[in-house]
Structure formats: C-alpha cells, structure tokens
C-alpha cells in the first residue's frame, strides 16, 4: 500500500478556500457599490474599474485555478499509484504561486492592471516579476506532474490523466501567448486576436479539462461506481483537443476582426456540442444506476448540478456564437451570466465536490457536518439560480432594447428610436435585475462561508479518533 504525501495538495487547497471567500466578497461588494448604489463608496482606489479585476483575479486564479491544482496533486498520485514525484519541488512551486498571485491580484487598486482581459496581472511590481514567477511556478508544477505520471505503477491512463496532461500542455502555451507573446505581435488586431485566443482557451483548455478531470475522478469515487463509458470519455477528450483552440474569435462577432475568421470560429463553436454532450451523458449515466446517492450526498449533488450547469453553459456558448443570437446577447449582462455559469456554476461546483471528498481522506477524519454541507448546496443552488437568471433575462431584454434602434427604414427613423429609448434608459431598466443578482451573490457568499467553516472544523476541530471508514 502506497502512502500518499498530501501536504502539497493541502498547500494549494486550504488557501484557495480562503480566497474563494475574499474573492466572492469583493464580487458582492461591487455588485452593490457599482450597480445598486452606484459609486456609493467612491474614490481612486475603490471605484468599479479598479476593484473588478481583484474579484476576477481572486476567483479565477487564487480560488479556482489553485484549488484545481491542489485537487490534481491529490488525485494524480492516486491514479498513478505513486506518491507525488517531489513534494519539496511542489512546496517551492507553491511558494512562488501564492506569493505572485496574492501580491498580483490585490495590487490592482493601486493601478497595476496590464490591460488585457484575464491577463491583468502586472508584469512587474517594483522589482518583482509577478507574471514571471507565476509562469515559473506553473512550469515547476507540471514538471512535477509529468514526472509523477512517468513513474506511475498503473500502466493504463485513466481519462482524468488524459485531461490533466492536456491541461499541462495547453495551459502552458495559452499562458505564454496571453501574457508574454502578446507584446511581440504587431499592434492592433493581431494582439486582440491573440488575446481572445487566450481568454477563451483559459476557460476551454484550462478550466474545462481540469474541471472534467476532477469530475471524472471524484464522481466514481463519491458514488462508488465505475464510470459509464471510457470510450465516450475518449471521444469527449479528443473532440475538445480538436475544437477548442479554434473558437476564440467568437467573442468578436460583428467586430473589426476578419469575417472569415469569425465564420471559422462560429463553425467550430457549433461543433462544441460533441465534447459537451459526451461528458454530460457520461456523468449522468454513471449515476443512473443509483439516483438515491444524489439525495444522500451533498458532494454528488454539487457534481450533478455542476453537470447540469455545464450542459446549459455549452448550449448557450455555441448559440451565442451565432451571428443573429450574438446581436442580442453580446455586450449585455447575458455575457456576465454566461461567464459565471461556466466558472461558478460548473467548475466551482465540481471543485467543491472534489474538496468535500479529498479533505476527509487527506486528514483521515469524516466531514464535520453533513447537514451543513446540505445547506451549503441548497444556498449555492438557489443563489446561483437567482444570480444567473437575473443576468440572463435582464441582459437579453437590454439586448432587445438595443436592437430596437435598428427598427425602421431610414437613418432618421433609427435615430428617432434612439432618442425614444436612449442608452441610459436601457441601463435604468437593468437596475431591478441587478438587485436580484446582488441578492443571489449574498446567498452564494453566505453558503460558501458555511462551506469553509465546515472544512475548517473538519481539519482542526474534528477529533482525530473518529477514523474515516
């Protein structure tokens, strides 16, 4: 029996939980301070434009990416049958990781924003190369993983390992393009195109394979049943590998990028249905034999609900890429809803399920309170539904109002429509939806505070004598 050294996994998972709360707190703050009571707390360091990147960077990098790396440090050794290749290398990487990300993500109010979406981390803060340290720690992490996989005892690679290996290669290149190579491209659209490539791949080739690797590992573990079909998971994997890198440009439909490139991205976006539906069906079919497990276990509920949200995300995504749908949804709050269902509804739900399974195993104690986990799920689900549906409905209505400017036969008529429903009116109409969104955010935040308390108590308060079965 191999004993697994989980200290590195803990080094990534525990701090990530803390930053999940701080990041979401900042999110709730801006949903009130920028939208419900606009600019109530005002000033150079507090206004929306400087605080928003703190929220985004905290929840995407400090929480989601970190917790996913932690979970991979948990399940990759277990799937390989060997302990992590070098724990000390992982500690070293963890040190660079947390230092660069904590400093970088909280520096935005002081004016360090790099200016490219999702790549806001500054290149330098004083003499500290933030982006460089982050990239270095990523290289150290994947080197460690590759060596672990190379030294594995189990010959066959489980699908989670496929996805993980994909992540290592894709993420490395994606981070390199979006954070460094961008500056070497010609100014203008070449950089914009590379930036969209980066933005979309960060979700599609980083969070998606990491999240799916997590789901594919933890669902069979939690439900104690084998995955429904390995062949289906392979189809899903290879179609993701084939399709995702092509579709970044669909963020620029109707924009100044070349039309043929937009069309290419639309075609590939539609093909996304293939990998998504294989994953969704595979996960559902795995649980199909025994749905009572859904009722018994909060982590399984998180996984399954994440799966439902994944399905919705990936129905929305390709449809939003169609030119006529894009005309309505693009640049509205629908987009914000869509990005939250992907990174929150889907991948955060997957990661939460992973944490619920991994932490008790790592500390060898049962979860402190299953009741609290039930509450956590309920609050998260209802909070998310309030949050997402308010943004979708509100955003769609705003998009329709904007499209209304194009009613008529002559430019004079178009202009008349614009005077009748000016831009600010369409903004004023959003306020009620923003209030619902804010309430949803508060509910989610509260639920996740319960989650962190539960994990904290499991690790620190739970008597060690109550051994896990």
């Amino acid at each position: 029996m191999v004993t697994y050294d989980d200290r590195a996994a803990q080094l990534f998972i525990y701090p990530a939980l803390l930053f999940m709360i701080t990041g979401m707190f900042v999110g709730v703050f801006i949903s009130f301070n920028a939208f419900i009571f606009p600019d109530y707390f005002s000033g150079e360091y507090l206004h929306f434009g400087r605080v928003r990147p703190v929220h985004v960077s905290s929840v995407t990098l400090l929480w989601l990416l970190s917790v996913n790396v932690g979970l991979m440090m948990y399940f990759i050794p277990r799937l390989c049958g060997v302990s992590l290749w070098s724990p000390s290398l992982a500690f070293c990487a963890g040190g660079f990781w947390w230092f660069s990300l904590i400093v970088g993500s909280h520096s935005f109010p002081w004016g360090t924003n790099w200016g490219w979406e999702y790549a806001e981390l500054p290149m330098w803060i004083s003499r500290i190369p933030i982006k460089g340290l982050f990239a270095l720690s990523w290289i150290l992490i994947i080197f460690n993983f590759f060596m672990t996989i190379a030294h594995r005892r189990f010959e066959k690679l489980y699908v989670s390992l496929w996805y993980s290996m994909g992540t290592f290669i894709w993420t490395t290149f994606t981070i390199f393009v979006g954070n460094f190579a961008l500056n070497w491209l010609p100014e203008g659209m070449s950089r914009v195109n590379a930036s969209w490539f980066y933005i979309h791949n960060l979700v599609g080739l980083v969070y998606t394979p990491m999240g799916l690797a997590t789901a594919y590992y933890f669902l069979p573990k939690l439900a104690n049943t084998p995955i429904y079909s390995h062949r289906l998971s392979m189809i899903g994997f290879w179609s993701i590998a084939f399709i995702y890198a092509w579709i970044g440009t669909h963020h620029q439909i109707h924009g100044p990028l070349s039309q043929w490139l937009q069309t290419t991205s639309i075609v590939f976006s539609i093909w996304l249905f293939i990998p998504v539906w294989t994953v969704v069906y595979n996960l559902f079919a795995t649980l199909q034999k025994d749905w009572t497990k859904y009722l018994e276990s909060a982590p399984i509920r998180f996984l399954m609900m994440g799966n439902v949200f994944y399905l919705i995300t990936c129905i929305q995504g390709p449809l939003m890429a169609l030119r006529n749908v894009n005309e309505i949804t693009s640049k509205t709050d629908w987009v914000i809803g869509h990005s939250h269902i992907a990174l929150y509804g889907t991948f955060t739900f997957f990661a939460i399920a992973g944490v619920y399974q991994a932490v008790p195993v790592m500390v060898k104690k049962p979860l402190w309170s299953n009741k609290l986990a039930d509450w956590h799920f309920a609050l998260n689900l209802w909070g998310s539904l309030l949050f997402l549906f308010s943004l979708w409905i509100g955003g769609f209505l705003q998009g329709l109002a904007w499209a209304n400017w194009a009613e008529g036969a002559s430019y004079a008529e178009f202009k008349e429509n614009l005077i009748r429903i000016p831009f600010l009116q369409t903004l004023a109409d959003m306020r009620d939806w923003w209030i619902v969104r804010g309430i949803g955010g508060v509910v989610i935040l509260f639920g996740n505070i319960l989650f962190v308390i539960n994990i904290w108590n499991t690790v620190f308060l739970q008597p060690a004598a109550k051994r896990i079965v």
């Binding site: 600019d39 929306f48 924003n113 189990f154 100014e187 290419t264 914000i336």
Partner: protein, 435 residues
C-alpha cells in the same frame, strides 16, 4: 474504478522515457499536433492573410501618430486655470510649414523669402520644410507694414461706407506680419486654437525647396503647421512660486529640455496619448466601455451623428495602440467614436469630476483623482483643476474615430467610403421585402 485494475508492481526504471507507454505518447503527440494546427490557422495565418490588420487606414492616420503627435506640446497656462497652451516643435528640414494670407492677415517678406507666401487667391498652397516664422515687422519692413495697414484702413472705410449697417458692426482685426528666417535648427511656435485636429492639405499644394522630409509618406496629403509665430515667455513670481506666461515680447524657449522642464511643464501629445492608454487600462475603463462600432445598425446609430451613421470599426484603426480594448460589456456607451461625438474638453472635465450630476442617470464612478485642488480656493472646491491624468485620458479619447480618414474626407461630413448609411438603410428595406 479503473485505477485498481491493471496494477503492476515493480521497481521504478531509471529511464523516464522507457516508462512512457504508447498511450501516453499518443496523448501528448495528439494534443500537440491538433493544437498546433489550430494555432497556425487562427493565430499565425490571419496576420498574413488580412493586410488591414497591419496597414494604416490613411496617410492622415500615419502622419497624426508619427509626425503631428510627437511635435505638438501642451501644458496648463498656469496653475489656476484649466486653459491649455499648445505649442508646435518645429525642426529645420523636418516640419512642413505653410504661410497663407487671409482676409485679416497680410504677410510681407524680403525678396528672398517672398516665394514662400501663399497670397489670397493663389491657386496652390506653398509648403516648405525650411524653418521660417512670422513676427511683427522689424527694420525696413516696418514702414512697409504701416503703409499696408493704412491702406487697409482706408479700404475698410470705403467698404463700410458702401455696406449696410449690420456689416459695419463686425470688427475685423487686421494684422500685417513679417516672414523671417530665425536662422535656427529648431524652434517653438504657438498654436492659439489648439485641438484634436491638425492642419491638413491634400489637393492644390506645392512643396518648395526640393524633396519632402523623410518621415512623410509620399502621397495622399500632408499635415503641416500654418502661419507659425514664435512661442515666447516671461518668467514671473507669484509669492514664492516661479511662474511663466506667454508674452510676445518675452524671450524664446531655449530648447526642448526647457519646454519639458517642471516649470513650463509641457508634454507632447504622443506622451499624453500613450499615458492615456495606460490610464484607460489601470482605471479599468474597458470593463464598462467597448471600443468597437460593430457591423450592427444599433452600433452605427448609437455612435453616429444626427445626420450620418458612424462607419463600423475597421482593423486598421487600432494599429497605433500598444493595448487595444475591444471590450466585452457595455455598462456605459461605446467610445470608439468619442472624439467625434464629444470633442468638448469642458464636457469631459465636468463629466469626469462628477458623472452623476453631469449626466442624469449615469452610474459611472467619479474620477476626482484626475484633478488637483485649486490652490486659491478655501474649503471644498466645486471642481478641481485638471491634472496630467485628465489631459492624458482626454487626448487618448480624442483619437477615437477622428483619425480614420483626413478631416477633409471624414465620415461625419458624409464622405464614408464604405457607404454605411446606404447599407443600413438598404439592409432594413431588404429585410422588410423578405419578410
């Protein structure tokens, strides 16, 4: 679970590659292959396939960014007011100059410089890269100037005697200036109007003194400086603070270093635009404002003037930006045509200071850190004095939509080469017939 099957006990082999079985290699090679094809097609190829990604939109765009911006300087007139002083940095053999007479300006010169003057009614504008300037006539030319001034007064009286009452009320300032050669390699000229456009000529012009300065494109028209007069200053003291003011009788600015010194505080428009781009990034303007007029009727109407729609953004509008902010969300309106739709510096001042009071219903945060406190006012000031951050973001925004084509061929004059108006009106009619 799969991990329990296929268990294989054994020692770790020394060679890493030996342990990588076929499936692992297949995964890695497959991933890299598929990924690199996609990267070649969507990242590398488009830049070569679509020339508009890298070619400028017009000769005016090139000259504005590469010639006019680096040579146009501005600074606050003084610490107390928000007025700006604009100055052109003129260089021998580099800056194109034109000397043109008008109703209220007559230019006189010695025989040698006579050829550089474009008289009222000359068919062509004469341009030169020789560094010449205008001044109040001196020496032998002063008598000539006085004679011309008298003659003009006389003619004016005659005209007024014939004209109706309304015309008489119009006071016209008449000036007679001397064209002279200061004999220097570089100098500074004052620009009393300033602004976001530059003097531009694209037909009926002639360049004297042989060839064109190197940095200019060869065709399509030229930006030039019209009727430059030397920028002269006088240093004064206010309390224990040293100040400067424009003074035609003062001394010239020594060099660029003095112009940019903290005392005078000038910055080139190029520096301001670049700083403005940085401020646009760090303040997160781009989270709420898009910078693209999409190929949608709603967009071209939203950004258009009362009479003409704004043409959709084209790739080549963005080629002079280190960071481009196409944007994902419109919490505020699009800014890609802001320089045309809201050129007023006063409007932006009031709006940045307090958007909610400047525009009822706005949810934009106040940017009062773009202003310094007025030193003379006690207590809470009603509005601060704009500082360099305001000037930078203002200059950056004024590049939006104003530099696509020369001002003589601008879309807001209806000269839209891609016929946006015809297209959007036709498109709607087409849809109606179809439905």
């Amino acid at each position: 679970m799969k991990e329990t099957s296929g268990k294989e006990e054994g020692e770790h082999p020394p060679a890493v590659m030996g342990k990588l079985n076929r499936s692992a290699i297949l995964v890695i090679v497959g991933i890299i292959l598929l990924f690199s094809i996609a990267v070649m097609a969507v990242l590398v190829a488009p830049g070569f396939a679509d020339s508009t990604w890298t070619t400028p939109s017009s000769s005016y765009q090139v000259q504005m960014y590469e010639i006019a911006d680096p040579q146009t300087y501005m600074s606050s007139v003084s610490r107390e007011t928000d007025k700006l002083q604009y100055v052109h940095h003129l260089k021998q053999d580099v800056t194109l100059l034109g000397f043109k007479e008008s109703k209220d300006l007559q230019i006189i010169a010695g025989a040698e410089l006579e050829k550089y003057i474009t008289r009222d009614g000359d068919p062509e504008l004469k341009l030169t890269s020789r560094l010449l300037m205008l001044r109040d006539p001196e020496g032998s030319l002063r008598a000539e100037a006085e004679r011309l001034q008298k003659k003009w007064q006389q003619e004016k009286q005659e005209r007024e005697a014939r004209a109706s009452k309304e015309e008489k009320l119009k006071p016209i300032q008449h000036q007679v200036l001397e064209l002279y050669d200061p004999g220097v390699q570089e100098a500074f000229s004052i620009d009393l109007l300033g602004g976001i456009f530059q003097d531009w000529v694209d037909k009926e012009f002639k360049i004297l003194d042989g060839s064109l300065p190197q940095r200019y494109p060869l065709e399509g028209g030229f930006v030039y400086v019209l009727n430059p007069r030397e920028f002269r200053i006088t240093l004064t003291r206010e309390g224990d603070e040293e100040c400067w003011r424009y003074d035609a009788g003062g001394r010239p600015v020594k060099d660029l270093a003095e112009l940019k010194s903290p005392l005078l505080g000038f910055h080139s428009r190029q520096e301001l635009i670049s700083l403005g781009e940085e401020i646009y990034a760090i303040e997160g303007c781009w989270y709420c404002h898009t910078d693209q007029t999409r190929t949608l009727i709603g967009d071209v109407v939203l950004n258009g003037t009362d009479v003409y729609p704004a043409p959709p953004s084209s790739a080549n509008e963005f080629i002079y930006q280190k960071v481009t902010f196409p944007g994902t969300r419109r919490i505020g309106p699009d800014l890609s045509r802001e320089g045309v739709n809201r050129p007023s510096r006063e409007w932006h001042q009031a709006h940045f200071w307090s958007p909610k009071t400047a525009v009822v219903g706005s949810i934009m945060p106040a940017f009062q850190h773009f202003f310094d406190q007025d030193p003379r006012r006690k207590g809470k000031p009603s509005m601060g004095i704009p500082n360099i951050r305001f000037e930078a973001i203002y200059q950056y925004m004024m590049t939006k939509g104003t530099r696509i084509t020369p001002p003589t061929q601008a879309w807001w004059l209806g000269q839209d080469s891609i016929k946006t108006k015809e297209r959007i009106e036709g498109q709607r009619l087409g849809l109606r017939r179809g439905s």
